[in-house]
Amino acid sequence: MSNITTAPFTYESLSQLTMKEGVLELQVGPAHAGSGHMRILVWVEGDTVVKVDPDIGFVHRGVEKLSEDRLYVKAIPIVERPNLVDTVNANLGYIIALEKLLGLEAPPRAQYIRVITAEISRIISHLYGIAIYGIFMGSSTVFMWALADREPFIDIMEELTGARLTYSHIIPGGVRWDLPKDFGERLEVALKYLEGRVSDYEKIWMNNPVVRARAEGVGILSGAKATELGVVGPNLRASGVKCDVRKCAPYSVYSDFDFDVPTFKEGDSYARLLIRVEEIKQSISILRQALKNIPEGKIIYEDYYKRMTPLMKSIYDEKGRVKFTSLLTSLSPPKGQSFSRVEGGRGEIFFYLISDGTKNPYRFRVVTPSFRNLPYFTHVMPGHKLADVPVIYGSIDYFPPEADRR
């Protein structure tokens, strides 16, 4: 696998390529077991891939245009749906940008709860990525194992919020539900179970000779080239660039926690496989620290608490639940702009808001990590064999509804 000559990327026009003899155009289309909801146009010469053109837009629904038409609070479910596997980080990113516009900050207990849910969401997202990578390589064992290991965490979040994946838990000013009393013990049981499973994954999946033969040396992207192309997330850290938004530009209370940022130097598909398991270990350690140090207090901003009616306050005292006051549904932030960068499970999510003083945003911009990982198709895949295409595609953890983002 080490004698691959990666052809340099050219902007050659399509007609010139197909005129060349022996070049065949394949449509790995939307109705394919190895492509998800996108179309990959692959030009092959014999068995070697010569050029790849990703054709996206099959799940484009217009999140930016829709949010500019609605209230600020109504954009929360819309932002969650494209990143369905990793919803809390998208939710958190939007709310951080909105809170900057409003000029308020959530109380510390709410920030710790946000970090806990964000890390659980990161674990869920990484396990889903491992499952999809396994099924693209043909290993349905890992698919079943990883999907089964997600279920305890989905159950814990369901006891907290009532939904399996789309929680809409974070609102401007705090969070909506407080942690129940035995949350800590249940989460600890799930974390211990996952630690035991990680050693199983190492035996069956990561030290598997078939997986190593298929993934080592395939899809190499050097650190300098990765910086130039602007890729994000675990793919960037597997190429040697040590940049995690939680450390480079910390947000929320991440500066209180003590964790590592694993990196690998090789930048091939095997490194991208290993890094996700390492990040799961780091998330487990952050969760344990958060459970130990969580402070007491309110979970909603003081000003908003004062404006709640007595009925809502009694519900808050009994059940630890914040009902939407009419204030939240009629938010009009002052004029200005704000942005936020959040580290999701797949990479960096970027939000940019411009407000003009009315109830609807004037400009709402979101850039998701899968969109920024698109250069892998055009720049990394050419030069490999056709059978390496699903290996590279599975290793970058590409999720089409997120890339079409909207």
Partner: protein, 167 residues
Amino acid sequence: MLAETPHAQKLGLALGGSASVTEDQKAGLIEVRVEPKFLMDVSKKLKELGFDHCVSVTAVDYPRENYMDVIWHVSSYSNEELGNKLVSLTVRISRDEPRVGSLVGVWESSLFSERETHEMFGVEFEGHPDLRPLLLPEELLGKWPLRKDFILPKRRSDLFRKGGAQP
């Protein structure tokens, strides 16, 4: 509020006189405003200073004043001090003739974002090697959906026309 903080002044000196640099402290953004003709030089100088990748390319539409703002957000991976900050490189172009130079030669990471801004707003990036539509189906090409004069239906009865929801 936009102000000339020490950071902004340092950056302004480094970039030369063709750019006006201000910092929005509440948002944490550094805004660099240039004329379209100085865009290439300023972006090359920013790259030399250490801003090595482009996060997003977008545009903001102001139909009443008849101009559009095209914004490149850039940041840094290799330099830790600069990695904390975000610079938004802004150019103001007219709405009747929306043309601006493409920055793919400087930052290759803006390749796909510029294609998307072109098909959503109608901004033409001169020098872009591959300006094809990326996300929209064929029926919506040329309609520039994200401009402010493309209106979404407000009632359900507008939806059940043939072909789905269109203005």
